[in-house]
C-alpha cells in the first residue's frame, strides 16, 4: 500500500507538472487576450510529433530545443495572421477559429504520421532506473521530466515577477489600453505571449511524448482535461492553475492505480435486487471511472464555487 502511495504520488506530481506546463500558457493567453485557445493541446501534440521526427533526424537533445521553437513560431503565426484578423468579430469567432485549427491540426498530423502510435523512445542517455523503491524501478526519464517542468516553472515565475518584460505582461493582462498608451507595442506583446505559451506546450509534448503515447488523438484526449484544470483553478489565475494541475494530476493518477469498487468495499450490501443501473455503478472499479473523475470535479466545483478555486471573477 505504501509503495502504491509513493509511486502514485510521484507519478501524480509529474503528470500535474506536465499539465501545468500546458495550463500556465493557456491561462496567461486567456487572461491577456480573452481567447480560450482550443488549439493549445494541439500545439502540445505538434511538439510531440516534431520531437519524434527531429529525434529521428538529429537526435533527442537538439530536438528538445528545436521542436518547441518550431511550435512557438507556428503559434506566433496563428496569432499574427489568424487571431488578430478575427479579433474584430468578437471572442466567439476567435474561440471558433482555434476550434477549427485544433480540428485541422489533428487531421494534418494523422495525415502525415498516421493514426497509430509512434515508436518515440526515451533517449539512451536517460534509459536507466534512477532508483529502486519497494522493488519498483523508477525510470530516470521521469525524473528528468519532473526536473524540466520544475525548471520551467521557476523560470516562468522569475520572468513574470522579477523582470521588466514580466511587468509589461502583467500590466497588459489587466490594462491593455493603458500599456499601449505608455508606448509599448501591445500587439507584439500578445504575439510573444502566444508564441511562448505555444512553445511551452510544445516542450511539454516533446518531453511527454516518449513517456506517454504519441498518437494523433493525444490532443483530443488531453484538451478537455486542460479546460477542466483552468476552470477548476479559476479562470485567469496562475496560482489556481498550478494547484488545479497538481490536484487533477494526483487525483487521476490515484484513480487509475486504485482497483476498488463499491462492491469490494461494501460486499455484503449488494443491491442485485435493484435495477441493473445500480449494479453497474456498484461493480465499476475506480480505475474504470478514472477518465471521468476530472469532469465530475468540474461539475462539483461549478456547483460549490463557480469562480473556481482561486478565481476572482465570475466570467
Amino acid at each position: 500500500m505504501l509503495e502504491l502511495v509513493v509511486i502514485s504520488t510521484l507519478n501524480g506530481v509529474l503528470f500535474g507538472m506536465l499539465l501545468f506546463l500546458l495550463s500556465s500558457g493557456l491561462t496567461v493567453i486567456f487572461s491577456m487576450m480573452g481567447v480560450l485557445n482550443f488549439a493549445h493541446a494541439s500545439f502540445y501534440m505538434l511538439g510531440a510529433f516534431f520531437g519524434f521526427q527531429l529525434t529521428k533526424w538529429i537526435g533527442f537533445w537538439p530536438a528538445l530545443v528545436l521542436a518547441p521553437l518550431l511550435v512557438g513560431a507556428i503559434g506566433m503565426a496563428v496569432e499574427r495572421y489568424g487571431l488578430r484578423n478575427t479579433h474584430k468579430h468578437g471572442h466567439v469567432a476567435e474561440l471558433l477559429l482555434t476550434f477549427g485549427l485544433a480540428f485541422a491540426i489533428e487531421e494534418i498530423v494523422s495525415m502525415i504520421w498516421g493514426k497509430s502510435p509512434l515508436d518515440y523512445r526515451v533517449p539512451a542517455l536517460l534509459d536507466f532506473p534512477a532508483f529502486t523503491i519497494f522493488s519498483t524501478n523508477y525510470p530516470a526519464y521521469k525524473i528528468f521530466m519532473l526536473a524540466v517542468s520544475i525548471v520551467i516553472f521557476v523560470a516562468l515565475l522569475v520572468v513574470l515577477k522579477r523582470t521588466r518584460v514580466g511587468l509589461i505582461v502583467q500590466a497588459a493582462l489587466t490594462h491593455p489600453h493603458m500599456v499601449g498608451h505608455l508606448g509599448h507595442n501591445v500587439g507584439r506583446v500578445f504575439m510573444a505571449v502566444f508564441g511562448v505559451g505555444s512553445a511551452l506546450a510544445g516542450l511539454a509534448g516533446v518531453i511527454a511524448g516518449p513517456a506517454l503515447v504519441t498518437q494523433s488523438d493525444m490532443a483530443a484526449s488531453l484538451g478537455p482535461i486542460l479546460f477542466v484544470v483552468i476552470v477548476f483553478g479559476g479562470l485567469g489565475s496562475l496560482p489556481g492553475a498550478f494547484v488545479a494541475s497538481l490536484v487533477i494530476g494526483l487525483v487521476q493518477t490515484f484513480a487509475v492505480a486504485l482497483d476498488g469498487s463499491l462492491a469490494s468495499a461494501f460486499g455484503p450490501l449488494d443491491p442485485s435486487a435493484g435495477p441493473s443501473v445500480l449494479a453497474d455503478i456498484w461493480n465499476v472499479t475506480i480505475a474504470q471511472v478514472a477518465p471521468i473523475v476530472p469532469y465530475m470535479l468540474l461539475v462539483l466545483i461549478l456547483i460549490v464555487r463557480p469562480m473556481g478555486l482561486m478565481g476572482t471573477r465570475e466570467s
Binding site: 486567456f30 480573452g34 480560450l36 489568424g82 484578423n85 478575427t86 468579430h89 471572442h91 466567439v92 469567432a93 474561440l95 471558433l96 477559429l97 476550434f99 477549427g100 485549427l101 480540428f103 485541422a104 487531421e107 494534418i108 495525415m111 502525415i112 483530443a220 478537455p224 479546460f227 477542466v228 483552468i230 476552470v231 479562470l235 435495477p275 441493473s276 443501473v277 449494479a279 453497474d280 455503478i281 465499476v284 474504470q288 471511472v289 477518465p291 471521468i292 476530472p294 469532469y295 465530475m296 468540474l298 461539475v299 461549478l302 456547483i303 463557480p306 465570475e314 466570467s315
Partner: protein
C-alpha cells in the same frame, strides 16, 4: 423564413404581400420535401435525404443556443444522443409490453429524453454565458460520453442498443420497413420541428433570448433574469436535439456512444456556423451542405475532415455570418438594383480563386497519398503523388493563385463599396 432573427422589426413591404411570400416559402419547402423522393428515388439518395433531414433538425436546435441566445456549446450531441437512447429504449419497451404507441410518436420520446437531461444539468450550466459556458458544455459532453461506456445496462457498452422499428404497432397500414416511409416520417417531423422552432423565435421568450445574447445587463434592468432565459432556451434546444436523436435512432435502428461524442457535437457546430447563425434558414443550408459533403467526400478522399476544418476556418475568418450571411449581404444591392456592377468582378475572381483551391486540394492529396502512391484524379486530370511534376504544379497553383486572387478580391471589395454606396444613397442600406 427569410426574416432576420435579430430583434429589429420587419418594416419593409406591405403586410399582405409579406405574409403571402412568407407562407409561400414554407409551402415551397413542404412541397419540395414531398416531391424530392419521387424525382430521386434511388435507395442511396433516399438515405441521404433522411440523414440531411435529421441533420437539419439537429442544426436548427443548435441554433436556438448559438444564434438565438448566444450560447456556444461544445456538447450539444449529448441531448441528441440521449434522445436517441430514449427513443430506442421506448421502442423496445413498446414492443415487449405491447403498448399502443405507433412509430411516428417515438421521436417525441426522444425529445423528452433530451429535455429531461437539459432540465437536470441546464440550471448549473447556464449560470454563466460566454467562454465559461463553452468550457462547461465541453466538460459535460466528455462526462456523458465517457459515462455511457461505463453504464452498460443503459447504454449497451461499445455495441450500443439495437431496436426494430417494424415491430411497433402500425399506423395507416405503414410498416416503416422501407426507407421511403422512414423518409416521410423524418420529413414530417422536420416540418413540425422547423415550424415549432421558427414560432419559438417569434414568441416573447425568443425575443428576450435575443436580448440576452446582445446585452444581458439591460435585460436584467428591465426585470428579466438572464439565467432563467438561458435555461429555458437550453431546455428547448435539448428537446429538439432529442427529437433529432430519436429520428436518427429510428433511421439506423441503433443508438450507441458515438451519438453522444465530441465528433457529433463538432459536426453540428460546423453545420450551424457554416450555414450562418444570424438567419433562421442558415443552419438548414449548413446542415444540407455539411451532410452532403460528408457523404460525398468520404468516398473520394480519406482526409475529408481536413477539408471541413479548412472550410470552417475560412468561414470564421472571412465570413462570420456564414453562407446565409453572404447571401443576405446582397439583398440591399438587389433591391437598389446595383448588383450588376459587382458581378463582373466576381466573374473575374472565379478563375484565380478556383486555381488556388485546386492547388490546395492537390497539395493536401499529394501529402495524404504520398506513402500509398495512389493516383490523384482531380476533375478528370490524373496526378501521381510521387512525381515532381505534381509538386511543381501544386506549388505554382497555390502561389500564383493566391497572388492573383488577392488582386481580384481587392477589386471585388472596391466594386462592392461603390455598389453599397449607391444602395445607401437610394436608401436600401442602413
Amino acid at each position: 423564413m427569410t426574416t432576420a432573427t435579430t430583434s429589429t422589426p420587419n418594416v419593409t413591404g406591405k403586410p399582405a404581400g409579406g405574409n403571402l411570400r412568407f407562407y409561400g416559402v414554407w409551402l415551397i419547402g413542404v412541397i419540395a420535401l414531398i416531391v424530392l423522393p419521387m424525382i430521386f428515388s434511388s435507395g442511396g439518395s433516399l438515405t441521404s435525404f433522411s440523414l440531411i433531414g435529421i441533420a437539419i433538425v439537429f442544426a436548427l436546435s443548435y441554433n436556438i443556443l448559438l444564434g438565438q441566445t448566444g450560447l456556444l456549446s461544445f456538447g450539444h450531441a449529448v441531448h441528441y444522443g440521449l434522445g436517441g437512447f430514449a427513443a430506442c429504449h421506448m421502442m423496445n419497451a413498446v414492443t415487449s409490453h405491447g403498448w399502443p404507441v405507433p412509430l411516428p410518436f417515438i421521436p417525441l420520446f426522444g425529445g423528452i429524453g433530451g429535455l429531461v437531461f437539459a432540465m437536470i444539468i441546464g440550471w448549473v450550466m447556464t449560470k454563466r454565458a460566454g467562454t465559461v459556458f463553452a468550457m462547461i458544455s465541453l466538460g459535460i459532453g466528455e462526462l456523458v460520453a465517457s459515462s455511457s461506456l461505463i453504464l452498460r445496462s443503459v447504454f449497451g457498452g461499445e455495441s450500443g442498443v439495437t431496436t426494430d422499428r417494424t415491430a411497433l404497432p402500425k399506423m395507416f397500414g405503414w410498416t416503416f420497413g422501407p426507407q421511403l416511409q422512414v423518409y416521410y416520417l423524418i420529413a414530417f417531423w422536420l416540418v413540425l420541428s422547423a415550424v415549432a422552432m421558427y414560432a419559438l423565435t417569434r414568441t416573447p421568450l425568443g425575443r428576450i433570448s435575443n436580448a440576452v445574447r446582445d446585452n444581458p445587463e439591460r435585460v436584467q434592468f428591465i426585470g428579466y433574469d438572464p439565467h432563467v432565459v438561458r435555461y429555458l432556451a437550453f431546455c428547448f434546444a435539448g428537446f429538439f436535439a432529442g427529437i433529432a436523436g430519436g429520428l436518427a435512432a429510428i433511421n439506423f435502428e441503433i443508438a450507441n456512444s458515438a451519438y453522444l461524442g465530441a465528433i457529433q457535437s463538432g459536426l453540428v457546430l460546423f453545420s450551424t456556423f457554416i450555414g450562418g447563425t444570424a438567419y433562421f434558414f442558415g443552419p438548414i443550408l449548413g446542415a444540407i451542405l455539411v451532410t452532403y459533403l460528408q457523404l460525398g467526400l468520404t468516398s473520394v478522399t480519406s482526409v475529408w475532415q481536413l477539408y471541413f476544418g479548412i472550410i470552417f476556418i475560412g468561414i470564421v475568418m472571412f465570413s462570420p455570418g456564414g453562407i446565409a450571411g453572404l447571401v443576405m449581404m446582397h439583398r440591399p444591392l438587389v433591391r437598389a438594383g446595383t448588383l450588376w456592377t459587382v458581378i463582373p468582378s466576381y466573374l473575374v475572381a472565379i478563375v484565380p480563386t478556383a486555381a488556388l483551391a485546386f492547388g490546395v486540394i492537390l497539395t493536401i492529396e499529394t501529402i495524404a497519398r504520398y506513402s500509398g502512391g495512389d493516383a490523384i484524379n482531380l476533375f478528370g486530370i490524373g496526378f501521381k503523388p510521387t512525381s515532381p511534376v505534381t509538386w511543381i504544379s501544386a506549388a505554382v497553383l497555390v502561389v500564383g493563385g493566391a497572388f492573383v486572387a488577392r488582386v481580384t478580391w481587392r477589386r471585388i471589395a472596391d466594386a462592392w463599396d461603390r455598389a453599397a454606396t449607391v444602395a445607401r444613397d437610394r436608401g436600401y442600406l442602413a
